[in-house]
């Protein structure tokens, strides 16, 4: 669920993208814990508040409450968490969700309310009062869609955001497919069979990564430099962004400023160096 700012309400609603209220604000934060709890739950610390005296009065009287709405379309999961106090925690079992979570915070009515009025309303509502029914939205905030990444150790295990598959043809170039979860690389049948024979060998892995993953990433970064928005909700994009985030670097800024070859080498931790070192190790071992 997402509430569109263009959505028409028959009464004033407090939200960032709307001007129904002149000065009042709805403050909303939802911070996920970086690791699941011992029971395998994804935990959110939710912190909601408003400086609107009339809405606060409704909350104190028990006529309104805070509500955190969580939806995962991939697993047909949808749940609300409600509270009379704005600070609370929500636990979502990871076994029930996958890929993406839509998160929205609300203040909603718990009971029907008559003659609802606020002095801070836009002049268009001058002199109006509203009778509202239970469940009516008084305030809302859409959060950025949360992408659930399967494996946090992305580049330690290349398989996590990349998937290499076998094409049926021989002697054709490798191809890249960008899906919502993974970057998929198709190798021709001969290449794939050789790749499968050697990919598990830890000495050969950096060499294979430099041969296959590096050019794929260069191509992907070139595409992202043209239009990153199209892929922003993809799991692999979030994963790439997180790699930079862990180094306190702004991914979008770097994308605009650096060339794709540099970006690809940086995100992989200078793969050519690692590959050449391992080639040297293999050859020197054979020579001795």
């Amino acid at each position: 669920m997402k509430i569109k700012d263009q959505r028409l309400f028959t009464y004033p609603v407090l939200a960032n993208g709307r001007d129904d209220y002149k000065t009042c604000k709805f403050f909303a934060k939802a911070t996920p814990h970086t690791t699941a709890d011992a029971a395998g739950n994804l935990v959110f610390d939710v912190d909601l508040s408003t400086d609107c005296a009339e809405i606060n009065r409704l909350i104190i009287n028990g006529d309104a409450e805070y509500l955190f709405h969580v939806e995962c379309p991939t697993t047909i999961y949808r749940k609300i968490f409600t509270n009379a106090v704005g600070k609370f925690s929500c636990k979502i079992p990871l076994s029930l969700v996958k890929d993406t979570l839509y998160l929205v915070a609300f203040i909603v009515l718990r009971r029907d309310v008559k003659n609802f009025f606020c002095a801070d309303w836009n002049d268009d509502f001058d002199g109006l009062k509203f009778d509202l029914q239970r469940g009516s939205i008084l305030a809302y905030k859409n959060f950025e869609t949360l992408t659930l990444v399967e494996d946090p150790n992305l580049f330690k295990n290349v398989g996590s955001i990349f998937s290499i598959y076998r094409k049926l043809a021989d002697d054709v170039p490798f191809e890249i497919n960008l899906t919502t979860q993974k970057i998929k690389i198709g190798l021709n049948a001969k290449d794939y069979d050789l790749y499968r024979r050697y990919y598990a060998n830890p000495t050969l892995q950096p060499i294979l990564n430099a041969m296959i993953i590096l050019p794929a990433l260069v191509s992907i970064f070139a595409e992202l430099k043209q239009d990153a928005q199209e892929h922003e909700s993809d799991a692999w994009f979030s994963a790439l962004k997180a790699v930079y985030g862990r180094q306190k670097l702004d991914f979008n800024k770097l994308l605009a400023e650096e060339d794709s070859l540099t970006l690809a080498q940086e995100v992989m931790g200078l793969p050519i160096t690692g590959a050449l070192q391992n080639i040297a190790q293999i050859v020197d071992t054979e020579d001795s």
Binding site: M1, T10, L67, H69, E71, C72, P73, T74, T75, I76, Y77, R78, K79, I80, L94, S95, L96, V97, K98, D99, T100, F106, V108, Q133, R134, G135, S136, I137, G159, S163, I164, Y165, R166, K167, L168, N177, K182, K184, G186, A189, Y192, D193, R196
Partner: protein, 264 residues
């Protein structure tokens, strides 16, 4: 029975090579070609479960009855799957290409294809993508794969809900209901089942478009004004029942009792 899922790269290989392998699904009675195409054994054993059989395809059952029975059978035997696992394409593509390969082929009548003349390649590939793999939007793909739709029908509606839904026009009803976002909320889902049961208990069969769809549209309109999730199951049922009874009251099924020669 050994349940196997497909390795991720094997899944990509099979899905990415449908333009070259589509004919195998139509002509090959066993799945040995799958290993050949993947260049290795693509299956990973997930779990052993007691043997079970899906609804017979050659016993004169109509498609709705087959789907209805299979939803009960499959969910009963695989209820240990978590929704996260059941939303994973590798599992269902693995079952469709592994233990249930022959069943899925026969379910779609591929065993009756004598030759490939007259087979539309693009159309067949589109269908294979839906039937043996996942294709489409987040919820839709769960409901189009031949086997995963049975599990999700069992998960969403439970046994009592499936009975209320009934086997008539089963898949159309399932798809139009389960592809709606509100069905994810347990209260709303239970309210919907109560609505179905209300009429079922009175011997009334609801029409998909005229009653079920229309009542869902009404509920959606209520959702334009309030957060639907705040409603209880009873309130959801009341809204839908009231709408149907007011706008297009369904008629009770007429049953002719051959023993008494009277209409019940």
């Amino acid at each position: 029975m050994e349940l196997c899922y497909l390795k991720g790269d094997a899944l990509d290989t099979l899905k990415g090579s449908l333009d070259k392998t589509f004919d195998k699904y139509l002509t090959q009675r066993d799945n040995s070609w799958v290993i050949e195409v993947c260049g290795e054994n693509p299956f990973v054993t997930f779990r052993d479960v007691p043997d079970f059989e899906l609804a017979p395809l050659d016993a004169g059952l109509d498609v709705g009855e087959i789907d209805f029975r299979n939803s009960k059978i499959l969910y009963k035997h695989l209820s240990f799957l978590t929704p996260r696992q059941a939303a994973d394409e590798r599992f269902w593509a693995g079952f469709c290409h592994g233990a249930f390969y022959d069943y899925v082929r026969r379910r779609w009548g591929y065993d009756k294809i004598d030759n490939l003349r007259g087979v539309n390649k693009d159309e067949t590939i589109d269908k294979l993508r839906n039937r043996f793999f996942f294709d489409g939007g987040s919820r839709e793909k769960l409901l189009t794969n031949t086997l995963s739709k049975y599990w999700w029908a069992g998960y969403v509606f439970s046994d009592a809900g499936l009975d209320a839904l009934g086997s008539t026009d089963f898949y159309s009803k399932l798809f139009s209901i389960a592809s709606r976002s509100f069905i994810g909320n347990e209260n709303l889902r239970n309210g919907f089942v109560k609505f179905l049961k209300h009429f079922k208990d009175r011997g009334i069969t609801l029409n998909r478009e005229k009653h079920i769809q229309a009542a869902m549209i009404e509920l959606n309109q209520v959702g334009g004004a309030v957060i639907l999730d705040c409603l209880s199951a009873d309130e959801v049922a009341e809204i839908m029942i009231a709408y149907v009874e007011k706008n297009s009251p369904p008629k009770k099924n007429v049953v002719f009792d051959t023993r008494t020669a009277k209409i019940k």
